[in-house]
Symmetry: C2
Subunit: 435 residues, 2 copies
Amino acid sequence: LDAGDKGRVYDLVEPLHPADVADLFELVDADDRPRLASAITDLLSGEVIAELNDFVRDGMIEALPPETVAGIAEQLETDDAVQLIEDLDAADQAAVLAEMEPADRAAIESALAYPEETAGRLMSRAFVAVPEHMTVGDLIDYLRDTDRGDLPTDFWEVFVVDPAHKPVGTCQLSWILRTPRHIALADVMKRDQTLIPVTADQEEVGNMFQKYALISAAVVDESGRLVGQMTADDVVHIISEEAGEDVLLLSGAGDGDINEPIRDAYTARVRWLVANLATASVASFVISRFESVIAQMVALAVLMPIVAGIGGNAGTQTLAVTVRALATNQLTASNVWRAVRRELSIALLNGATVALVIGLAVGLIFGHPMLGAVIGMAMLTNIVIAGIAGVLVPLTLERLGADPAISSSIFVTMTTDSMGFLVFLGLAVASGLVG
Amino acid sequence: LDAGDKGRVYDLVEPLHPADVADLFELVDADDRPRLASAITDLLSGEVIAELNDFVRDGMIEALPPETVAGIAEQLETDDAVQLIEDLDAADQAAVLAEMEPADRAAIESALAYPEETAGRLMSRAFVAVPEHMTVGDLIDYLRDTDRGDLPTDFWEVFVVDPAHKPVGTCQLSWILRTPRHIALADVMKRDQTLIPVTADQEEVGNMFQKYALISAAVVDESGRLVGQMTADDVVHIISEEAGEDVLLLSGAGDGDINEPIRDAYTARVRWLVANLATASVASFVISRFESVIAQMVALAVLMPIVAGIGGNAGTQTLAVTVRALATNQLTASNVWRAVRRELSIALLNGATVALVIGLAVGLIFGHPMLGAVIGMAMLTNIVIAGIAGVLVPLTLERLGADPAISSSIFVTMTTDSMGFLVFLGLAVASGLVG
């Protein structure tokens, strides 16, 4: 590419799978992407664009004229086309929609009417639904009818619906293929099926697919009518995103990735750092109350970050376990107290062990058994506080309707820092070590 | 249940989906589980057991006699049966296997021969493979043949193989259903398919399913012969586990969840806390070199945790983004320097902002502009160091063949703590603030 040999680049890229072409695009420098794009224009199918990372795709789409974007969107299935244009600003979106065929435009507009990250926005509008009175043979003939251009090519189950278009059962294609023609669909289908409400959040959809081991599932509107389907290949992205974002949210890195524009990453992260500055000031205020104590025994200043830091680590451990348990529905109102008791037991064990190690080490190294006893007691106390905060903070935020992954760690760290300093310096005074 | 009314418990549980029965089991106290089990014995199908959380299942299986476990395992598909017994110790495993039918035993033993978390261990051994010369009609007749008890009921594609049993193509069931009987499979199938090596790690399998939007895929052995298949309903669990474990590993909470026995959770977490104790001592050692400086100006002891703490936060943000990018294959050898440059730019922007805020605040509150300038400079320096450590530490660990999620945060925090104290206290001396 650097040598400007477009023909050679084209030959190298040509045999690749669309997903690999998309990966290649992400791997080259942002500055080189337009050159790569011009070298392989006709390999840049809608499929490649759909596979691109959100940030890379948005950057590309914004640079293209509306009619080109409309052309790409028309090649795609509705759900992928929606993804393509949902992040454009309203004016650009309208411009692209104006260039599209009326049928495609209507489908996209109906998807955009649902909130982001709900089943209504994400579902595919192409599916096979048939009446209950059909036999297996009727169904196969219907599917083979070449005049039916409206039928999708890729589907995994056939939904059986009543005259009001409400789902009454579902047939996996393998059941249909293994059944003689004369049998009625009503005798092949499973009546008990998982229905996804059109308003379900994507996290909920992901949890349903996991729990019930689904490959595809019907999406129904408020009145219970079949309006779309979700398939596992789309849901794997959702699950990976939802499970992976906890680590980013807990660390305050927003929901970005390495392709997020620097300005967005800066805005997301600096907000978190400044918020942490405020909570860190609370800890500093605690220390400032003990200035005269520290002046008398500077060893306290040397050791106090250990008490606060290890407490912070213990709190983060509990927090991570709690946030995952909440995200996967393992922790609900009915087992909260069991979880709290469990974390308390672990904290007591951890606290006792760490207190013993640090107490002995400080007692020996500083030749000062009382200082060892004080730091050991402070360590135990702070790890227990950390365990309680690590489980109660995310639970409280969840109950208040907030995402526990987003702000828990600020509160937990503030607690473990402040309490670590307070308990350690306070015990140093109370024990008569200084004062 | 508390009232001992088994009949009523049974009636309440009876209409539930196996996955919901499993959830119920996880939600009740560990002590109540045997009582619940005895009330609903014949609802405890293999499916319920397969849906249970690993820790809860292991606890239950260990309490059962080998012949009962063997009975449950025989109800299950091979991959679920393997999950059931893979965590038993060798003697118990042998006892269970001895109670099983020879064919089932052989299948499980062959799975156990592959390492844990590889495709060979996880794949299903039931799939449909047919020769290339068949027509669509031949295939449907073959599938309808009721004498073929070896054919699975649930499958999503038919693999076409050559006489050596190597895959040559694949047909989605929907393509078969939409094609007339006389057409040859060779004209329906897609030749280009994603093959999973039997030795592939589960994380790799998850990434392939995501990247190529697969619903099912063929697993091939070293010589390229078809030996099994993986389906998306199993892979969603893997993806959720792999993406979710980063947050647990980074926080040092092991790979446990709220159902992990307390003793295991204690062992996993205390090891991490003691390791952190060692790294925290490095930071304390740095502070101890400045004891006389702190004695002269105790305000330094009040402020130093801010410099270290915010640096730690900035490092954790970069670390989280880098670990996710490595796990999802977005970060490879070819774009490392771009990622480092990117993090460095974000760190400079974040560092400048935070330095300005803290510098002004300290200058005003302490009425000491020089102290403000020193803490501002130290903050900027430490955030930049944090950005570099946050991307280089996980990359180095990955290159050394270690899992970057497991130990990165210890090294990053050690760096930001020690450097935070060193730069802040060092600058205080160098600037002539104290000395």
